[in-house]
Amino acid sequence: MSDINSQRRQFMKTSMGVAAIAIAPGMLLYGTSHGKSEGASSKVRWGMLIDTTQCTQGCTDCVSACNKENGLSGGTKSTDSQWIRKIEIKDISNGLVSSLPMMCQHCEHPPCVDVCPTQASFKRADGIVLVDRHRCIGCRYCMMACPYKARSFVHEPLENQNPDVPRGKGTVEACSFCVQRIDKGQIPACAEACQNKAILFGDLNDANSEIYKKVRSVASDHIRADLQLNPGIRYQGL
């Protein structure tokens, strides 16, 4: 612990040095601690806009891409991990069937985080909801709390995990928005794989981003908007 504290002290010292010549020291401290290598920024809110009219029935390209990127088996039994799955919903009044991908909705007010007894479920500053498997005790409260059935539990020992995506038995997991790719400046695997470009990924807070403009020009909605969880994923054409 002592070396960690000394590093922090060093950081404080250098920051204070710079802050002393600035007009607003608080602002400067905040600014310097949010560079690329400085981690997730709360100015960003990652989100997706999914155009269900462009989502082809029966196509599972996004699911395959997710399985490959995150090293999932691709099985669909109740004991297999599924981070993203294709579902079909039918409007019973006119029989219209829509196909859409369902995964962790990265809520602003995530119920999984509320119920987690060890704070393993958490929301990162940039809005991505993750499981810290170092803390997860496998109680699965979060799986019960999630209204989207987005989380899976790992029942069996795993081997040959992707070095970028550690996963293990006895912990809960879910879509991470491909956080390992986002931190490298890439987009999630499913969004990249969709041939019809039905999945638009971007920063909901960035006024110059495509998603920011589209959310404001095309009608879209959250699933289970009545729960007021404000998910980061919106669906268009439902």
Partner: protein, 100 residues
């Protein structure tokens, strides 16, 4: 005394003696920083430790009695949980296996 297979070896974070004594603190600190805050410090990431220290013969840090992590941990009777979840092989060992 254990004689671990140090893989490529070399020194990038701190000297050998310091690392023997303190590597667990760096790993524990780093796991909080990178998982929860998204601060991905390349130098002290477990993945990069494995990249250099995995054996040249089997690309692993835990596969054999004298593998880099196992040699000392067995000698000291301290179990390693890291590789229940984290990959214990360097990335080249995974190339080619993803087409299935």
């Amino acid at each position: 005394m254990p004689k671990p297979d140090i893989g490529m070896g070399g020194q990038c974070v701190k000297d050998t003696q310091w690392m023997r004594k303190n590597h667990m603190h760096l790993l524990k600190h780093q796991r909080e920083e990178s998982v929860r805050k998204g601060i991905r410090d390349e130098q002290v990431s477990l993945k990069n430790c494995v990249e250099c220290h995995a054996s040249k013969s089997d690309n692993s840090v835990v596969a054999r009695e004298d593998s880099f992590c196992v040699a000392c941990h067995r000698y000291e009777a301290v179990s390693i949980d890291c590789f229940e979840c984290h990959a214990s092989k360097r990335k080249v060992a995974f190339a080619g296996k993803d087409e299935k």
